[in-house]
């Protein structure tokens, strides 16, 4: 995979994530689609295993750094690097496990996997936030509401993945995905 193409695409999609996400939000519910998670799905479907996992970590760290939490007092923000990165890693791993069973070029596959990926990301992130809030008094998380908004975002991302996934699929040659499935190693004697 071309890391330059990945970086450029991630840069654009992160920019859209910060600039457009609140405009696409359903009311004030917090339910909004994720642009970068569609990229994670495409990369996890087509890139070599290790490359996909590294790409997922990079996207996850980016999401952590662009989504600070508001402290319980409402007077400061808390930047945590880890929860979303680990969530993205779990999502990428799940897609890597499933990719041999699905039709990778089918746009509905990308939509369905986007739904699964965002759901896993939100579950892992909320679990991490809640676990941390047990000993970090600055953090106050309403797990149920956050998770419901996250799962709503998963459905919304699946809908967004139909046009965005198609656009990214058509741009796949620039990513230079050559080895989509690792070949079995032949040990020479």
């Amino acid at each position: 995979m071309s890391w330059i193409a990945f970086a450029l695409t991630a840069w654009i999609l992160f920019g859209l994530e910060l600039g457009l996400k609140d405009a696409l939000q359903l009311g004030a519910s917090g339910v909004a689609p994720s642009f970068v998670m569609v990229l994670l799905v495409i990369v996890s479907l087509h890139a070599p295993r290790l490359t996909a996992l590294w790409a997922a970590l990079i996207i996850g760290v980016g999401l952590d750094l662009t989504a600070p939490l508001v402290s319980a007092s409402g007077l400061e923000t808390i930047t945590l690097v880890g929860p979303k990165a680990l969530g993205c890693l779990v999502s990428a791993y799940a897609i890597l496990t499933m990719r041999t069973l699905v039709m990778r070029r089918n746009i509905f596959t990308i939509a369905l996997l986007s739904l699964i990926a965002v759901s896993l990301l939100e579950i892992v992130a909320v679990f991490a936030y809640v676990s941390r809030s047990w000993f970090d008094s600055r953090l106050e998380i309403t797990a149920g509401a956050t998770l419901v908004a996250g799962l709503g975002a998963a459905v919304y991302t699946a809908i967004l993945a139909l046009p965005l996934g198609a656009a990214l699929q058509s741009a796949m040659p620039i990513f230079g995905f050559q080895q989509s499935v690792s070949r079995p190693r032949i040990r020479r004697v």
Binding site: W11, I12, F14, G15, L16, E17, L18, G19, L20, K21, D22, A23, Q25, G27, A28, S29, G30, V31, A32, S34, V36, L50, L53, W54, L57, V61, G62, L63, L65, T66, A67, P68, L69, V70, S71, S73, G74, L75, E76, T77, I78, T79, L80, V81, G82, P83, A85, L86, L89, A128, S131, R132, D136, R138, E140, A145, T146, A149, A153
Partner: protein, 284 residues
């Protein structure tokens, strides 16, 4: 592979363990990662700024009270600004009178706080829409300070308080978000600076909801609600929080009244805000 070098798999595992440790590390240990946020936001700003500008131009903040005609709207904004200044002056007079009384009793009082006001653009939001943070293109380079600076729009409508100030950017938490906490406010039932106190908090519907003080009378839909909370900076006092949308008896305590306040604008859709930054006067 030579002995002693890290294999890519092992490096990935170590990175994952590091991230896991950072997730649960105490604030003192993991605090340095906040410093990484500023360069990331700086790199993403060109795209997010353009996307934010386009989205906010197509879906601007709607005002429920301002006229649609630009000239009339401008006049209305000026009128509202002067009304806020007048009400704030009345509040200051009352405070000064109380300070004089305190001084006469030989007690020390806090120095006055002046503020600087300037425009800032909303260049993006958080990638996690649940938090509702707005990112502005002004930071410590323009004197923005966390906790003391507030953002207003349309002259006197309070948007929220600055909860993070980086070197070039800052984040504002709108008052309509639940995380902004409880706010003490005054429902303006008459012409002067007096009114009925209430205690309200943001909800998921973009409104503020809470209780009116005991024995409240004369509160009706449409009345202006202004901030009067000692927990908030001086620069934010008597700014407009919104208008009373609904007053009704509480379900579990029918003798008490609950109130719903709707801001005049959709605070999460504003394109530009005015930042009020406190300037401490030099001591004579």
């Amino acid at each position: 592979m030579p002995k002693g070098t890290l294999s890519p798999h092992r490096l990935l595992l170590l990175t994952t363990l590091l991230l896991l440790a950072l997730t649960f590390a105490p604030a003192g240990v993991s605090g340095f990662v906040a410093g990484l946020r500023e360069p990331v936001m700086f790199v993403l700003a060109p795209i997010s700024n353009a996307a934010s500008f386009v989205s906010r131009s197509f879906r601007p903040a709607r005002s429920a009270t301002l006229p649609t005609d630009p000239d009339s709207a401008s006049l209305a904004i000026q009128r509202n600004e002067f009304k806020t200044l007048w009400l704030d002056a009345e509040r200051r007079i009352m405070e000064l009178e109380s300070q004089i009384r305190e001084l006469q009793q030989g007690r020390a009082t806090a120095p006055d706080i002046e503020f600087a006001a300037f425009h800032a653009r909303v260049v993006g939001a958080s990638s996690d829409t649940v938090s509702g943070l707005l990112t502005l293109d002004a930071g410590r380079n323009r004197g923005v300070t966390q906790g003391d600076s507030v953002a207003v729009v349309s002259g006197d409508n309070l948007v929220g308080r600055v909860v993070e100030s980086g070197r070039l950017t800052s984040s504002v938490l709108p008052i309509t978000r639940r995380d902004a906490g409880w706010i003490q406010a005054l429902v303006m039932t008459g012409e002067g600076a007096s009114g009925v106190r209430c205690h309200i908090r943001g909800t998921r519907d973009g409104v503020l909801h809470g209780d009116l003080s005991e024995g409240a009378v004369g509160v009706e839909p449409g009345q202006t609600v202004r901030l009067q909370d000692p927990e908030w900076p001086e620069t934010a006092q008597m700014l407009v929080l919104g208008r009373v949308e609904r007053v009704a008896p509480k379900e579990n305590a029918p003798l008490r009244l609950e109130i719903t306040v709707r801001p005049d604008l959709q605070l999460d859709r504003v394109q530009r805000v005015v930042l009020r930054v406190p300037v401490l006067e030099d001591s004579p």
